[in-house]
Structure formats: structure tokens, C-alpha cells
Symmetry: C2
Subunit: 195 residues, 2 copies
């Protein structure tokens, strides 16, 4: 087997470990916690389904790939909960080291391409990245909505914090931002989120 | 919210259940059994990474989406193990009913589009479908290889059955078929697969 293919397969095996990184979000039906690989799969399908609602024209293949790889660094760095202020302080350093190690398993050109796509998502300055971020926010929101806001109640999350996180959804899709705001209003009304 | 968006979100929530459909394959590191959503995520990333090895030119966005949705019917129909002869007899009827129910949650145009893509994968008569099938075969093979053939040993699978399944890999990618044959030879040599 040539060296290029060997590297591609080594990376393919390595990313299997993303299935062992668990998030704070629970599956619908008050299920177990969701892992990063499932979350990425769900985002990518939703990105395709909902693409007509993006604010700007997007390249859906790039968006889907961005969704699929956006959490790969968490294999080493672990998941940082969106409302964990302490964890968020060290998140970038942990994720930068992981990014270098994991993408270096690939042939150089694919390392560069996936690292650039990963960074584009993080920087959130392109139409594709803004829409991918809308998926990253909307996907756990619909699960948590289906579970009567259980994840917010467990962590005592405020409506303000959830609205703040959804600012990126607005940049990606006004229509989906409206959906998110409606969901948040409903859970404030029910007492699942504190004002 | 308009009816179209409401349907898209209902489908998005419904497919969350695919994360509860467990396969016979175990995660690397002799981990737990893999679920369909993780398997689909892994296939889609591998499809992008390995696309230069496809026998024919493929539309990678279509292939990735095909990989992501190819097991959605198993939400109702359950996973049928590739080497379960009895289960394979009723698989089509179970999956057809599931396909109709699940894709009917979508707006009509998206129901048609995803049903057609699902059928294209099943029929395996296009370049995109042949390459997607190569991923469906190669992905569990590399996990099982990393686990010293544990899944084959558990089910007493023969080398002949594994080679037969990999015939579709040959149609999608000669280079990846060679990889698969090399892995099978190695596990025959180690006594993990019976000749």
C-alpha cells in the first residue's frame, strides 16, 4: 500500500475515537448523552435539509464537510460545554494542540485543506461557516426542546446565555433564528430557562 | 412557522432516533457497539478523504449525503447484520415500510429527492452509489481489523462471506478493494476468519 493511502486510512481509524467524546446534550426521548460523531452527522443532514433558509448562498458540500469535522479536535481536547466559563478559557490552547496532532496524520495537502476548513468554521467569517454555526446551535436546541429543556434545567442555564449563543444562528439564517427565539420564549414561559 | 419549515424540523428531530440503532460492529479499542448515525458520519468523512481512489468520477456532495442517509430506514426496521441470512429475507419489506413513513415527514419535493437518493444507494447502479457502497464495506472492515477481527470471531464469519460482501467495494474502488483483500488475508493467516 502506498504511503498516501496508508496515511488516509490511519486518519480514518483515528477519528473513530470521536464517538467516545460525549456532550452535555441528551438524545430525544430523554435518552443518553450525545457524542460528537452523532452530533456532527445530525448537523450535516440538517445543513442539507435546511439550506434554503441560509441568509446567503452556501456551498453545501463544504458546509456538510465542515459540520462533519468541526469537533474532531475534541478527540484530544474533550468537549467544552457552551455555558462552561472556566473550560472556555483554556479551550483554544487545548484544541490547537489537538488540531496539529490529528490532522498531521493525513497527507500534507489534506492536512492543509481540513485544517483550513476547521479554522474557517472557528473564525466564522464566511457564509459557509456562518450557516454551519447555525446548525451547531440549532441541532442541540431541537433535542433539548424535545426533552422539555432538561439540559438547561440540569445546568441552571439562563435565557440570556442561550440567546447570546444563538447570535451566530442569526448570522447564518434569520428564519432559523426566529425558530430558536420561539423555542426559547416557550421554555422561559414554562420556567425551564430563567430570565 | 410555515408548514414547510415545520415539516423539515419534524424530520430533523425524528432522525435523532437513528443514534439508538446499534450495529454488530464494535468501535476501535474494543469499544462498545457502533450505532447507525456514527457509522454514517464515519462513512461520509471517509468518502471525502478517499475520493481520489474511486474507480469513476463521483459527485462528492451526493455521495456524502447518500452515506449520511443510507441507514435512516433502520429507525423502524432495525439493523440487519450483513451475514444474517434469515434477517436478510425480510429486510426489504421492513425497510420499504420504514422508508415511506420516515421520508413522508418531509415536504413532498425533499421526500422525493431523499427517497430517490436512498433507492440509488440500494440499487447500486451509479458511480456515486458504487463508491458509497465501498465506504459502507470498508468502514466496518477497518474497525474490525483494529479489533483483531473480534466481530468475525464472535459471529463465526467465513473469509468467503467477507470477500463476497467486498465485491461491491471492487465496483466502487479497485484500490480500496486491494486494501480490503489484504486485511482479509491477514485475518485468515491469524485464524480470525475461517477459509
Amino acid at each position: 500500500m502506498d504511503e498516501r493511502l496508508r496515511k488516509q486510512l490511519a486518519f480514518s481509524l483515528e477519528i473513530d475515537r470521536e464517538k467516545n467524546v460525549f456532550r452535555q446534550t441528551h438524545l430525544s426521548g430523554r435518552g443518553r448523552r450525545e457524542n460528537d460523531a452523532e452530533h456532527a452527522w445530525h448537523m450535516a443532514v440538517m445543513a442539507w435539509l435546511l439550506r434554503e433558509h441560509a441568509n446567503e448562498e452556501v456551498d453545501i458540500a463544504r458546509v456538510m464537510l465542515m459540520c462533519l469535522i468541526h469537533d474532531i479536535v475534541e478527540i484530544d481536547a474533550g468537549d467544552t460545554y457552551a455555558y462552561d466559563a472556566e473550560g472556555l478559557k483554556t479551550q483554544k490552547a487545548r484544541e490547537d494542540a489537538a488540531k496539529e496532532r490529528i490532522f498531521s496524520l493525513l497527507p500534507e495537502d489534506q492536512k492543509k485543506e481540513l485544517t483550513a476548513l476547521f479554522d474557517e468554521f472557528e473564525e466564522c467569517r464566511t457564509a459557509d461557516a456562518r450557516y454551519a454555526h447555525a446548525m451547531d446551535n440549532l441541532q442541540p436546541l431541537i433535542l433539548n426542546d424535545s426533552n422539555d429543556g432538561g439540559d438547561w434545567i440540569e445546568h441552571g442555564v439562563s435565557a440570556q446565555a442561550v440567546r447570546k449563543r444563538q447570535e451566530k444562528t442569526l448570522q447564518g439564517s434569520e428564519a432559523l433564528y426566529e425558530v430558536a427565539m420561539g423555542i426559547i420564549r416557550e421554555h422561559v414561559r414554562k420556567g425551564h430557562l430563567t430570565e
